[in-house]
């Protein structure tokens, strides 16, 4: 009965209801997008860091991984120290640099990492074979397309380009054995990987040095206590746990999180205001009708429920429409932000999570209920006799 009356009231002013639902839908879309932006970015980054199971990264003191060209000396000694901690299960030293690759008359510069393929956590092998021997190199699709190279090709690879003399300090012929996807790589970034020993041999100044160590801790061990232990025992590194890295990203991108919070709050408020206005006007128009209902014995609670139901119905219809709209706009906005220079491809600013959608929907329904309370209170407290008299005079 209450639902039927609420439905009748909304249908009576179809145009107005459609406009309100549309307004709420856009507010809902914005709200969903902002909830996705506020939580998705951090979640996406956390998933990225955890994707290969490494809990701690060691970078040169005072820097973030690959934030500068600095390297950590004494890979052997550091590895031995780390092995002394029973909570550490796996260690993957990574040496970064840049190379020039020549193939078919083309000379292309690319980023290179020197790794141990058995424990590397930087890329996924898409096809072919990993760089298991010292004469092998693996590359990403972006570089392969630039070079026009194919699996099995021999590439002339060089490091240490001196622009003054236009010579290289280290040159090697390497066989392209695999196609890989770099987990932390940006979309338009040429990337390669070789064994660390190969890169060290090509760049003697980087012998026994690493740009980064990735450390996996034993299951059940506390990564934060291992991190503290590392910083105490190896003073020339900064140990970064997942939590520390996320805190740093949170700071750097706090602007987006706060923007999401502000715009989300504004969207919710706009939706709330829209529904309140609509239902209030509707109640004012039906003052006589409500007075008649009250006069024939319809309870206050019944009137309140009917009016609140109207608000909830508009909010719910808008929210459902808005969720679809929100997913489309989130995709569009994510495509814009994905163009950030150097941003790993795997990072999504707008990550869809069921929890985010439920949160947005829940907030809107609560706002819908809240929006109906004031007009419902007004409707329920209308003086019956006076309202009827005013209606009769009108």
């Amino acid at each position: 009965m209450r639902a039927t009356l609420a439905q009748a009231s909304l249908i009576r002013h179809r145009g107005r209801t459609i406009l309100a639902v549309l307004g709420v839908a856009i507010a809902a879309a914005m709200l969903l997008d902002m909830v996705m932006l506020a939580t998705g970015m951090r979640e996406s980054f956390r998933e990225l860091l955890l994707s290969r199971g490494y809990d701690i990264r060691l970078a040169p003191k005072g820097t973030l991984p690959f934030d500068t060209d600095a390297t950590i000396p004494g890979v052997g000694a550091i590895t031995a120290t780390l092995r002394g901690n029973p909570d550490i299960r796996e260690i993957s030293p990574v040496l970064g640099g840049s190379i020039h690759v020549t193939s078919g008359g083309r000379d292309v510069s690319a980023a290179v990492i020197g790794i141990n393929p058995a424990v590397q956590g930087d890329y996924e092998l898409l096809s072919g074979r990993d760089a298991t021997d010292s004469g092998a190199i693996v590359a990403n699709d972006y570089l392969l397309a630039k070079l026009g190279a194919h699996m099995g090709d021999t590439l002339a690879v060089a490091t240490g380009y001196d622009p003054q003399t236009r010579t290289y300090s280290g040159q090697r012929k390497l066989v392209l054995t695999g196609r890989v996807k770099f987990i932390y790589g940006a979309a338009e970034q040429s990337g390669t990987a070789v064994r660390r020993e190969t890169l060290e041999a090509m760049s003697p100044e980087k012998a026994d040095r690493a740009s980064l160590f990735m450390v996996r801790v034993r299951k059940g061990a506390n990564p934060d206590s291992v991190r503290s232990w590392i910083e105490t025992n190896i003073p020339n590194v900064t140990a970064i746990s997942i939590a520390t890295a996320i805190a740093e990203v949170d700071f750097r991108l706090s602007y987006f999180r706060q923007l999401a919070f502000i715009l989300g709050a504004v969207s919710l408020f706009v939706g709330f205001l829209l529904v309140t206005t609509l239902v209030t006007v509707s109640v004012n128009e039906r003052a006589g009708e409500i007075a008649v209902m009250r006069a024939i014995g319809v309870s206050r609670a019944h009137v309140v429920q009917q009016v609140v139901l109207e608000g909830v119905a508009i909010s719910l219809a808008g929210a459902i429409l808005g969720l679809g709209l929100g997913l489309v706009t989130a995709r569009y906005l994510n495509a814009i932000l994905s163009a950030f220079p150097g941003l790993p491809m795997a990072i999504d600013f707008f990550l869809f999570q069921a929890k985010a959608a439920w949160s947005a929907l829940g907030l809107l329904v609560v706002a819908g209920i809240g929006a109906g309370i004031y007009p419902a209170w007004r409707a329920a407290s209308l003086p019956i006799a006076e309202s009827l008299r005013r209606e009769a005079i009108a």
Partner: protein
Amino acid sequence: MLLPLLSFALILQAPAPSRTPQRTIAVDEAFATQAHLKVGDHVTISARPGVPASAAESVIVAAIVRRGADPSEVARGDFVTRMHLDQLQRISGYGDRVDRFAIATKSAADIDSTLARFNRVAFGFRAYRSRDIAVETSRTFQVVSRFHRAIGVITIVASSIFLLCIMVLKVEERRRDIAALRLMGISRASVVRSIVTEAALVAVLGSALGIVIAWIGSLFINWHYQALYRTPLYFSIITPPIVVMAVGLSLLLGIGAGVLASLRLVRTPPLALFGR
């Protein structure tokens, strides 16, 4: 003095004055605050972490500087130290090298010819216009700007629908007044005109209030983000074109909604508006 491009030059605390004349450095304000440094302090510097203070070079903090507004540095939180070029080259093992030269030409007209001459004869390096480098380094902000524009469009669409809805409702609320006016013999055109004028007035007043709220919001946003990122950059600026666009849009929507709703109401027989 050179802005050190090698980010691994570190400063260690070591209040050990030396007998030989000491070199000086300038540190940025944020670093000085965090490291509790003041002008005249003696510190030791090294390009590598973990070097004992006795093996590092001692310098005097000669100045504390405030960095200029550089959008590409926002949110990075890096500390910058300025030191003498030869000293930086020595401690970093960089040799007689620099990362870049900055060149000022006598007149702006010379830039193209100077660039062309450099790039024709230079061996081992390339010359760029500062403006082109600025475009490249501000790519991050171009992305943010595109994002803001997209968010702005969505917000405008949402506000337009909201305004339209509110204005239609406000006019519809007046159905009995309109019916009374019509029954008194006031022409349809006069009724439409009065409603549209009223709608326009409401839109202008609403816009004025909106501008005041936006101005206060803008002050708060700048205060908050300038403190958060320790930068003099402005994050929110209300410009005359923005004000004109906002007022114009709300006026347009107000008038549009007023016209739509009033035309619908004046076409309805007055008695029907009374519910008879």
